[in-house]
């Protein structure tokens, strides 16, 4: 397990050996409430969910236990859409499903926890669980199609705006 003493100021990733699960851990300078808000307020969520070279359009957002969501990533004439359900919405834990509409049979179960580390720091642990190891690798590969941009231009822009 991850110790709270470990430095997670940069995202770290673990591929679970027992179940087809990916776990990402990252610490933030923020309170759990602020992280909760950034994940549940559609306007805020659209600003960071990315990737960098893509605009996110929220198509549907009913953020409550039993609710659902849908958004599209738009780059030029290309659009990639995603949808899922909000299974559980609580201040320290979000559970939701996630499907890339380009691969409608695939679904992952996303569990996010916000742990207060004190001193204005909060740890986010985000797990994605799929139904097979092959599925996990395909799932990861399909996410790459959306594109990776190494630039931090978008971050710089946000920093100067806020």
């Amino acid at each position: 397990m991850t110790s709270t003493m470990t430095d997670h100021s940069k995202a770290s990733i673990e591929a679970d050996p027992q179940v087809p699960l990916i776990r990402i851990t990252r610490d933030f300078t923020a309170t759990p409430d602020q992280l909760f808000k950034a994940h549940t307020d559609p306007e805020l969520y659209a600003r960071w969910v990315g990737p960098n070279d893509i605009t996110t359009r929220i198509d549907h957002w009913d953020c409550r236990t039993g609710g659902s969501w849908a958004f599209s990533n738009i780059r030029g004439d290309d659009s990639y859409s995603f949808h899922g359900c909000f299974h559980e919405i609580s201040p320290s834990r979000l559970v939701q499903t996630f499907t890339f509409d380009g691969w409608p049979d695939g679904v992952s179960l996303e569990t996010l926890t916000f742990t207060d580390l004190g001193n204005g720091r909060t740890r986010l642990v985000a797990t994605s669980l799929v139904d097979s190891f092959e599925g996990r690798d395909q799932w990861l590969a399909s996410g790459m199609d959306v594109g990776v941009n190494d630039g931090y231009a978008k971050l710089d822009t946000l920093l100067t705006e806020i």
Binding site: I13, P17, R26, K37, W48, L155, L158, L159
Partner: protein
């Protein structure tokens, strides 16, 4: 990379524990003790897995007798673990954008909490 080398790489990675060890070493060097900590298996069992990875050229062990840090040989691994590192980098980029959004929230401390009366 020769076919033999690639076969050894894939054979070494056919085991879920060894895949996990490699995934964790993408984050940085670690000692045997550190690597073994999450598993319900002996240090010797983890060491055996590391020997398989070492023979496949995937990891090397340091000379420092005390720590013997295990080091990933990224060149051998590149084609195999690109996906994991790419995914990690995507997440880090995403969370750097989230950092910026959160910094904006911090700047407005007098905002009413969710569910507040005013």
């Amino acid at each position: 990379m020769t076919t033999d080398q690639l076969s050894r790489t894939f054979a070494a990675l056919a085991d879920p524990t060894r895949r996990d060890l490699v995934a964790r070493l993408t984050l940085g060097d670690a000692t045997l003790t550190e690597l073994a900590a999450p598993y319900a298996m002996s240090l010797q069992a983890v060491s055996k897995h590391l020997t398989v990875l070492e023979r496949a050229g995937l990891v090397s062990r340091g000379k420092d007798a005390q720590r013997k840090p295990v080091h990933l040989q990224p060149s051998v691994l590149e084609p195999v673990t690109d996906w994991l590192e790419t995914y990690r980098r995507q997440a880090e980029e995403r969370y750097q954008r989230l950092d910026a959004v959160l910094a904006g929230l911090s700047a407005t401390p007098n905002e009413a909490p969710a569910g507040g009366t005013r």
